[in-house]
């Protein structure tokens, strides 16, 4: 009987034990660790006198709180310095490999996993960070966990997990010029809402998904969590294999051939059934942008700002009214032309080479609008080097944008890169929650193309009028 989904296959091959009326004991192949959600887990190990069971399957980096300027200098923020010092000490004590500040492998945790070849099809991957769903683009089952669970994995290399349900997201048709995979995921979020995927694992399928490169696929899987989904996966194919081939931790020689034959079996079977399903016609999409305070509050860029009257549901009316008030926007007005103060291009959502190339394509020969701050933050040291080899940094600097050093930066605003109260920012990151990019800041989520076009215009702009 060939009726298993990609998710079923990865899940079933990792169940170590399952007692009646208990969650399954699920084996974890790769545990990624960063400075903010791990200190309490290591303290827990010490209190119990436990060791890390598999330091060889554990990899740490620093990304959330590190500055994106002068990374070689001592940290100015004493609390940030303490977290960095603590991670270094924990990795030393428990013999975990760490890509710290200055290491060529350093970067945002969800960018370095795939680019080092640590993330592979069929693996289970966890990290104390909700955007771990990114790694699903390689055909891995990858999900974010809390700090208690970080401790569980450090100690046992396993997690207690209830099996989630499956949810097919079928995307078909040719994506129009001026759109990227960010527009696909924002349109999914607008359609199903920020709790539409709760309790489920997405599998993105269809010819549109197949046509995307790995960087673009990662953008989609990254934001699965914004719909509340446990994870988002894409079946591995030749695009995946070409991407992984030759990566530092990818299998080599005969091991590579053996891995390929396993990986080719992972895709969902023809008769596979999903618990839920939704279809998106990519050819009918427009560039998407958010107007509110959660990622589901997204509209086509030529659309108008919704007001409370746009829905009959009383709690949704309140939510829209509150969001639009926080954002300082006027219902009924077009979002195009909304004045902005800052553009942020980066993050685990859109901080990879394809994203920087897209932004550079728009900014080449153009100038950032006078008075507007444009921050371009590569997702990793490797992305930074590759971008600089192509001269993208020169295009950004020539345009008047700031070219920074790798980290999470203004996506989470823990490192000093932040908005001032009331500022508007078109951002390629993943969350427009109140205060996410700095207390009182107002975030409009969009693609790197829309962000770059808006940086030039000084207002929310439609990149299709430029290309």
């Amino acid at each position: 009987m060939n009726h298993k989904t990609l998710f079923d296959k990865v899940w079933e091959s990792h169940v170590v034990a399952a007692e009646p009326d208990c969650p399954s004991v699920l084996y974890i192949d790769l545990h990624l660790v960063h400075e903010v959600t791990s200190p309490q887990a290591f303290s827990g190990l010490r209190e119990r006198g436990l060791r890390v069971r598999r330091p060889d399957l554990t990899v740490a980096t620093m990304d959330h709180i590190i500055p994106t300027r002068n990374q070689g200098l001592p940290l100015q923020d004493p609390l940030a310095a303490q977290l960095v010092k603590q991670l270094q000490a924990n990795c030393d004590e428990f013999e975990i490999s760490l890509h710290g500040i200055g290491d060529p492998g350093q970067g945002i945790v969800h960018i370095i996993g795939p680019e080092l070849g640590l993330t592979q099809p069929g693996k289970t991957v966890v990290c104390g960070d909700s955007h771990t769903s990114t790694h699903g683009a390689c055909g891995a089952l990858a999900f974010g966990i809390g700090t208690s669970e970080v401790e569980h994995v450090l100690a046992t290399q396993c997690l207690l997990q209830k099996k989630p349900k499956t949810f097919e997201v079928l995307v078909t048709g040719r994506l129009p010029a001026g759109l990227t995979s960010k527009d696909i995921i924002l349109s999914l979020l607008a359609a199903i809402g920020v709790d539409g995927g709760t309790g489920h694992v997405f599998e993105y399928r269809g010819d549109t998904i197949r046509s995307l490169g790995m960087d673009e696929r990662m953008t989609i899987c990254n934001m699965s969590i914004e719909a509340g989904a446990r994870a988002g996966m894409i079946a591995p194919d030749d695009t995946t294999f070409q991407y992984l081939s030759g990566k530092p931790f990818a299998p080599k020689g005969a091991d590579w051939e053996a891995a390929l034959s396993r990986w080719r079996m992972l895709g969902s079977d023809g008769e596979a059934r999903f618990d839920r399903s939704v279809e998106i016609d990519a050819s009918a999409l427009e560039p998407m942008i958010t107007y509110g305070t959660n990622p589901g509050m997204a509209i086509p860029i030529t659309g108008r700002i919704p007001g409370p009257d746009s829905t009959h549901d009383s709690s949704a009316r309140n939510a829209i009214a509150k969001a639009v008030a926080y954002m300082g926007l006027t219902p009924g007005k077009p979002i195009l032309g909304q004045k902005i103060d800052t553009v942020f291009i980066g993050s685990c959502t859109n901080g990879r080479l394809a994203d920087l190339r897209a932004a550079a394509g728009v900014l080449k020969g153009r100038k950032v609008h006078p008075g507007l701050r444009a921050l371009i933050v590569p997702g990793s040291q490797a992305v930074r080097e590759a971008a600089e080899r192509e001269g993208l940094h020169l295009i950004f600097k020539e345009a008047g944008a700031e070219w920074r050093e790798p980290g999470c930066s203004m996506c989470i605003a823990m490192n000093g890169d932040e908005l001032s109260p009331g500022e508007y920012c078109v951002s390629t990151s993943n969350r427009n929650f109140e205060g996410r990019q700095g207390k009182g800041g107002r975030t409009l989520l969009a693609s790197p193309l829309t962000a770059a076009a808006s940086a030039v215009a000084g207002v929310v702009a439609d990149v299709r009028r430029l290309v």
């Binding site: 960070d129 396993c158 509340g228 605003a413 969350r431 205060g435």
Partner: protein, 197 residues
Amino acid sequence: MTESFRTFSSRLVPLPNENVDTDQIIPARFLKTTTREGLGKSLFNDWRYDAAGNPRPEFVLNKPEMRGRKILLAGNNFGCGSSREHAPWALTDFGFRAVISTSFADIFRGNSLKNALLPILVSRSEHAKLFSLCSEYPEAEVTVDLEMQALTLPGGARIGFPIEPFSKKCLLQGIDELGYLLRFADQIAAYESSRRF
């Protein structure tokens, strides 16, 4: 072993906002800590305090009559967004022992159960009933009985709620999940050696 979860009664703190994300529960700048303690003072920081750091009198947690209440009556999809366990740490440090909603984000729900913060799932109609109770009788006490999986309202009306048997057992008996997992050491070793790659 952690402390076992016992039946308790409390008045409710109503917070009807939908999709309350963990960035609201505790903003990221308060995550620069290496311990689990002391986060209650930053709970809902940016809703609770104005730019000068003064309490906003209109925010529900700042109302004097809300002091000491242990149950948060929250809107749909509570705890979405970031996986930060600092969210339940901040809620429990403040004094909450249960959150009632029509739905919870998966990671927040799991994190709460590991910190003796009970996520109580109720239907939309029961949820609406509880909010009416709150506005009509703000002093109404509700009893949370995990053993019976029920909320008891003044006058004796009961609202049942679901919970997985494993989580219920862990909370009632004060079993910690890591202790349970460590018992599988032999099976984990056998699994590791059975893998061909």
